[in-house]
Assembly symmetry: C2
Homo-oligomer: 523 residues x 2
């Protein structure tokens, strides 16, 4: 067992940093407080200084990256890799371990290849959803991207962190096919068919020969991903985007039960989202226009929100992609299924091929999964210096499970004086409930409430069999501790692999609770 | 580099085997020549003795398995794990390393759990496609299995070896979700959400928290898989099974080009197969009724086969699953697409919900992917002691690539005096061409022809960028050698993980070219 390492002080690594400056040029090593400001966690629920990097370096090439690793090994300098550093609500660009040097891969930003016929792209870490979207638009590609809510994140970073978007390709980590990695010793590995010189199938066949390694490098500090193949959706003939607006909080279980077979049987073929009324309100308005009294927002205010925003207590968004006849048949089945829930209102728009040909950034009714920055509005919900931290437990798509988790979360979050903004995502056989806990960083008592609440959410969820698929850098150890089956056997497996691949322990110490030997503490 | 270890002699490990007999009881340790006969490779293209095990042991519990591992570590006894041992055409139950002890998990054969609502099963290694099918039938489950051609294989073994079936869930390794593993030191690990005590999502969410380990244990000797979650398809409302019979060998490229967008856009949602006329003939008849002259079977005989068997030079099989309206729309599109190829004949049958409710083992027109033993008939094609070895390169689904690979394979195989029986499987973004090389084990010259040919197929395919996803135990090193990018960086990555997880090197030495330290040889 290996949690809670001593936090390294932000020690002077002057000699090592000098060598690194010589590698990348002094323009690309940032060590001043001002320059490293952007690598702090803007949304930290505590003192952002707890996770302050000693600096950041932005290599432009694999050779520069390799040379940086060499210095880090020799100097015992912990590194923290980011692609675009937009892992907001989970720590942004900041390292778990204070004093780490951020390796910012934003300059390695080439779209290496796009193949319209075969439906993939190979990208470098600095490629964002915006830049990939623009690349596809400029080259006249017929492929569509699946962007998470904000489009400024890295395609690689998002995929590696199990990000998702509201599309048929919305479970982004499942679209990964083929990685190029740099190991801690500077050697470069290509996974899967990429190991066969001249193979066209590197970004096409997930299997390869022998063990499949791709997913080992998700949420991982075993290596640095320097290239990734990602599957992209061919522009479909038709798309339907629909919403089901459910009248009552108590409709949750029947909505989840109704949705499950539709997803399992492929009637709805992509990731769906179902947000509560506060989720709809927080995405578009400020809390203060609705309520400024004490305690949680009362039910009558929620009812007013539903009327004025024309949303449900729960609003499910779904989409169909495919042949026009297919989309129509599927949509008819979805309507019929949800009409059985009293008070449910269903709207949907079908767009045909012509309408789908020229989408703009930010999208519209006809397409979801386009890159935008709209989702960022949520941070302003409570005013002041807005921030949010996301609590992301995974659950089975069963009404009773959803009901139980929802009740727990709403109760605990409101008890803490915060707003329960919850969205259920359905990936098919599993769901996640993302609770966006919005707070005002200028109010110390609100920050304190978050810090008191969050660890209790983790433990309470775990006690009910719900585990997080992702978490903020301040809570990575605690979540790892919850995955404790057989005396933390899985974590110990990870530690053995960590020690084998990164014996100096320089890569992202503490990432998802995985520490190198010298920073582990007996549990 | 680590290939070609010295073949250990079938040395006396009498003391170790005695201890193992005491663990499992003498009924479950097999060491006589007669008893270990079934662990020889029936289809060996050479001397089956080259891969003879020193015996086989069939533990019934995890405790017994753990105790066996302890003996193996202490005695330096190499093990070779099989589930059902039906990896025919790739080595059957036989180990790479002569003298290994086969660990046969057939007695660990419980279906732990089936969930109709969530569409999964959790099984032990000894569960076969037949037994899972029967279990589902007896319990009245509405879930469907996806069986490879012969149904006597293990669900776990087949999934771990990247097996496939002709269904929407036909890429079997992609249906794996959640493993229980025993490491070489006897410790037990559950992957993904299985590490969270009480989580219902172990067989539901592939991601988990931190690195995803499941696929690391495919085609691997890093651990022994003792339980596996597998996703099963809910019985669809309707199914269409169709065939496209293409008139000419030269239609290959246009068929592949026509199929690609249909698969990529999900119009055809499952694995398709396209076999050549000899494949159809070899599955149903004997070679001698068609031709017994010298050289390859002449074109006019192939034409006669097409007429008499009512098949194409290439016969594509595809299927649609889903709502009746969806299946109809998709089938219409497939018809329209293939009608553009001159001479193509298309037939298809749609079965509705009522017809789908009571399938029998072995299936029929309305359903594919049912367990049977029909496929085994192919071994009798050339008469005598029939056998086959499969050559399985992966390619991009492009007409030109398929054409190039087909021409190479047909030429080389016929040149060797053997029959070219080729089936292209399409997984979506990738394809495999499975060349079933049938031979008569009672003819030494035919065996010699296979042994001369097979290594050349590997090298020739690799020189053209085609790599195998699976291979016979006698050729695992050579295929591993072909995956040579950056001085075999991927193999060396695997070796580092191997050494970390199995330092005594007892688990399946040589599996897919991965050897423990003491058996590696400088390349």
């Amino acid at each position: 067992m290996s949690l809670h390492p001593p936090h390294a002080a932000c020690t002077a690594q002057a000699a090592a940093l000098k060598r690194i400056a010589a590698i990348v040029g002094s323009d690309w090593l940032f060590t001043s407080d001002e320059a490293t400001e952007t690598y702090l966690d803007f949304f930290a629920p505590g003192d952002a200084e707890d996770h302050r990097a000693c600096g950041a370096v932005a290599p432009a090439t694999l050779d520069e990256l390799r040379a940086i690793l060499q210095v880090a090994r020799e100097a015992g300098l912990p590194l923290w890799t980011v692609s675009a550093g937009r892992n907001l609500a989970y720590g942004g660009a900041a390292p778990v371990l204070r004093g780490s040097l951020v390796v910012d891969l934003k300059r390695m930003n080439r779209v290496i290849e796009v193949d319209d016929d075969l439906g993939y792209a190979i990208v470098e870490p600095g490629v964002t959803f915006f830049s990939l979207f623009d690349h596809l638009a400029h080259t006249g590609s017929s492929l569509w991207i699946s962007s998470p809510a904000p489009g400024w994140g890295s395609v690689i970073g998002n995929g590696l962190e199990h990000g998702f978007g509201p599309t048929a390709y919305g479970d982004h980590s499942q679209q990964i096919c083929g990685l190029e990695l740099m190991l801690a010793d500077g050697s470069i590995v290509r996974t899967g068919m990429g190991a066969l010189p001249g193979a066209a199938t590197w970004p096409l066949f997930k299997g390869g020969y022998g063990p499949s390694y791709d997913l080992l490098f998700l949420q991982s500090n075993f290596a640095i991903v320097t290239k990734m193949g990602i599957w992209l959706m061919p522009r479909p003939e038709a798309v339907a985007v629909g919403h089901v607006k459910l009248a009552r909080e108590a409709d949750l279980a029947s909505a989840i039960e109704t949705l499950r077979p539709l997803r399992l049987e492929g009637v709805i073929g992509g990731v769906t989202s179902m947000r509560n009324v506060l989720g709809t309100a927080a995405g578009a308005t400020l809390r203060s226009i609705w309520y400024d009294g004490p305690g949680p927002i009362p039910d009558e205010v929620l009812q007013r929100m539903m009327r004025q925003l024309d949303c449900g207590w729960w609003t499910l968004q779904f989409a169909h992609y495919g042949l026009e006849g297919v989309v129509q048949a599927q949509l008819a089945r979805v309507r019929a299924a949800f009409e059985s829930i009293p008070g449910a209102r269903i709207d949907a728009t079908i767009s045909d091929a012509a309408a789908l040909r020229t989408p703009a950034r930010g999208g519209g009714g006809s397409r979801v999964g386009l890159p935008s920055l709209n989702a960022l509005g949520i941070v302003d919900w409570r005013g002041g210096t807005g921030a949010h931290i996301d609590f992301s437990p995974v659950l089975a798509p069963r009404g009773a499970d959803a009901e139980r988790l929802h009740t727990l979360m709403r109760g605990m979050i409101e008890q803490a004086g915060l707003d329960y903004i919850g969205t259920f995502y359905n990936f098919g056989r599993a769901m996640a409930l993302i609770c966006a806990i919005v707070f005002n960083r200028s109010l110390p008592e609100e920050m304190a409430a978050v810090r008191s609440l969050f660890p209790r959410l983790i433990d309470t969820a775990a006690a009910h069999g719900f585990g997080e698929y992702r978490t903020h850098i301040s809570y990575m150890d605690q979540v790892a501790r919850a995955y404790s089956w057989n005396d933390h056997a899985l974590l110990r497996l990870g530690e053995r692999i960590k020690d084998a691949l990164d014996p100096h322990g320089i890569l992202a110490p503490g990432k998802q609770g995985l520490w190198p030997t010298h920073l582990r503490k007996a549990g």
